[in-house]
């Protein structure tokens, strides 16, 4: 029943024990916060409003995780160094079966942490206001009430007009269609600081729409029309990849995402609209064709890539 983990019976010793523990906790906390700050550098540039929120959440999780990891491994390391049995010491350690107080503490703290993490994650999720496939029907209105003031700054609020773009995934190419101008492209052009609304479609199997610089991802399900919203905030060229395994040439299903000022964006659209559609180069199709020519076939039979998309704009 006796459960003192660290020895010490006199009040003085007790006091010292607490002092040491508190010091250690503070040092750990400082180190963890440092690691949490550092964690921003492990991530790609923040090119969408959503990415800022997610990075803050990630950094928070890293801080907490570092604290727990260092706490546990630190204690273990201390034991391993200082609690070794002497070579010929065959005796047993103290017979301690448990300690109710300690067990309650280390059940309660994780419970609190879980609610904290879940609560924070929930908040971020609400602010992002990304949509899953089931939310197609009732467009944006639920999220509004819950958004604290600053979210409205970083993430365009709903009153604003959105830019509607269709995204079509197929084995193995991306096609983007701008319905208003009836422009098709294999490069995704987006204006900055404007809410983008995509309609994600697939012609064959599951694909995934993923732009690491935006921290955003959504699987595309054939036969469904999935709405997806976000707000790009930083000009530059990023990569869009297929994030849901889609067969042989999965890795080649990459497209460029160009985020530019609204002015340049409009110019690009206007210019693209004047081009006559031509077949875009397609890596999967090219590799497939090349393999058909090889005399010795090393690979196994594969699904044939779809025809290279015919679009107004491609590189």
């Amino acid at each position: 029943m006796s459960g003192e983990l660290t020895g010490g019976s006199t009040p003085q010793k007790q006091y010292r024990k607490w002092l040491i523990l508190t010091t250690i906790a503070i040092v750990l906390a400082v180190v963890s916060i440092g690691i949490g700050k550092l964690s921003y550098s492990w991530l790609p540039p923040q090119a969408a409003a959503e990415s800022i929120l997610i990075d803050d959440l990630f950094s928070f999780l890293v801080t907490l995780g570092a604290f727990i990891f260092l706490g546990v491994t630190g204690t273990l390391t201390y034991s391993v160094i200082f609690h070794r049995a002497a070579k010929y010491d065959m005796s047993d350690g103290p017979h301690i079966e448990g300690n109710v107080m300690l067990e309650v503490i280390w059940t309660a703290i994780p419970i609190l942490l879980v609610f904290w993490i879940a609560g924070y994650s929930y908040q971020v999720y609400q602010k992002m206001a990304i949509k899953g496939p089931m939310e197609v029907v009732h467009l944006h209105h639920i999220q509004m009430g819950m958004q604290p003031a600053y979210a409205a700054e970083s993430i365009a609020s709903m009153g604003e007009p959105t830019e509607d773009i269709e995204v079509i995934g197929k084995q193995w190419a991306w096609v983007f269609r701008y319905p208003e101008q009836n422009v098709t492209s294999t490069e995704l052009h987006l204006p900055t600081n404007k809410r983008i609304r995509l309609a994600l479609k697939s012609e064959d199997v599951l694909h995934g729409f993923y732009i690491p610089a935006f921290r955003l991802k959504q699987d595309i399900i054939p036969g469904e029309n999935i709405n997806f919203e976000f707000t790009p905030i930083r000009e530059g060229t990023y990569q869009l990849t297929d994030s849901q395994f889609s067969g042989t040439y999965f890795a080649t299903m990459i497209a460029d995402v160009v985020v530019e000022s609204p002015k340049n964006y409009q110019e690009w659209l206007a210019n693209a609209a004047t081009q006559t559609p031509t077949a875009a180069p397609n890596q999967a199709a090219a590799e497939y064709a090349e393999e058909q020519h090889e005399t010795i076939k090393l690979g196994w039979p594969t699904v044939k890539p779809a025809q290279p998309p015919v679009v107004n704009y491609h590189k």
């Binding site: 350690g93 994780p110 054939p222 469904e224």
Partner: protein, 565 residues
Amino acid sequence: MSSTPLENKPAVSHSHAETVTTWKTYFSFSTDHKVIGIQYLVTSFFFFLIGGIFAMIIRGELMTPESDLIERTFYNGMFTMHGTVMLFLWTFPALAGMANYLVPLMIGARDMAFPRLNAAAFWMIPVVGVLTMASFFLPSGSAQSGWWSYPPASTQVPLGFWINGQSVWILAVAISGVSSIMGALNIVTTIVKMRAPGMTYFRMPAYVWTVWAAQIIQLFGLPALTAGAVMLLFDVTVGTSFFDPADGGNPIIFQHLFWFYSHPAVYVIILPIFGIFSEIFPVYSRKPLFGYKVVAISSMIIAGVSGLVWVHHMYASGTPGWMRLIFMLSTMCVSVPTGIKVFAWVATIWGGKLRLNTPMLFALGALVLFVFAGITGIMLSSVPVDIHVNNTYFVVGHFHYVLYGTVTMGLYAGIYHWFPKMTGRMYYEGLGQLHFWLTFIGTNLNFLPMHPLGLNGMLRRVASYDPEFTFWNVVASLGAFLLGMSTLPFILNMVSSWSHGKPAPANPWRAIGLEWLVPSPPPVENFESIPVVISEPYGYGKTEPLTANDPNVKLPHPASKPVEH
């Protein structure tokens, strides 16, 4: 135990068949749980090497950004078969082997409840293995759509034959499922029905609790996977359209059926490893398991909660917001009972008299890597973070820290710890320590770089990648090759110790537990007389005996009347 008067039971006469276990026994349809346990362990380790060779090929391809070492179709086959072999032919059978060997010994039974069923379950494993390997030689090649085999990609069969890599894969997984169900029935029945007198539930070693919890998961989870597999098989072969959206089907239903089992499956894998920790830390710290009862019960809580979290693998799929959030909370809840265990182990070690033998080193290393993996798991469970890193190498990093860092290293810990018991020989400590350090360093070198890769958006299941990712991929590949080499001292150690090692006494580690009361290796029916358990497990620091009798001495048979039916 049952309270019916003993006299009323039929005294089935039973011949103590004094068969001797020789090397030939291991190639036969033996019904001895210890033979079957070792059959499982050796077979599964063989497949571990095969799965490892696949991993070496994967890492070889990923040394450079281009897809240059192997064809893309073959790469896809490689990661599919790597995942499949590692899960269905390495971890599951290896853990089944451990449980087979240890559970009857630990609860004081002579064998499992259904010995013949047990042998039949084992012999399905080689069948699964042969089927899996045979699929490489089909014209279609092996299955290539990942170990999840998500439709519709998995139902696209270019050659259109009935017999193709995908259908053979489904068949193999189904047989492995049947084998697991048979094993689970057997183990659960054994634990509930075959405990020695005095072996109450709260006197069972924590390992037995974890195995029990894990096998209950198998029983409620596997049938869902079977259902999904049956439907998928019909889609691939006869052309039904359960999961084919082009014909009104719904691929998301497959995902639900798949993960309803395959998430709990990871706890089927990890729970017995927790059990191994709970056995090893007390022995090498010379202290009782801290908070034994809570640790025991937490296994059951984990098993229960594990059935309620599967959608965290589908946040980015066709999952509505409310579902994402509910499953986020339930997933995070797993950390509470798991944390209880982690802290209990730390408290067990704290203030003990530590001896860093190979099993202890492996267990400590595995514990540290587990805490790391658990923390990345919690990050994944947070919907917004997972939306970013889902299907990237961050996930691959997370699960190799558990599957290699914790499970495989935990299995090594268990194998070293019970090696003297199983073989009657001591292993070589020096080789063991070398094995540990190579493994520990290799694991981190191999799998840590996957985290920054994933955070920067490198996807999994790609044979080619953006050149910006090259550096960490080269580090990971070098780590992988080191990890591959780390198996060599282990193999050397096992083979040479088994044939030439120092004979092991009954209890080389001065451990407390029924299995340590009998000779190494234990005789065919384990105990001369069934042990009568009179105290709780982990009596380190006390002097009370565990049993009232010496199980190696035959007790006189009481004059029980023969009973008519």
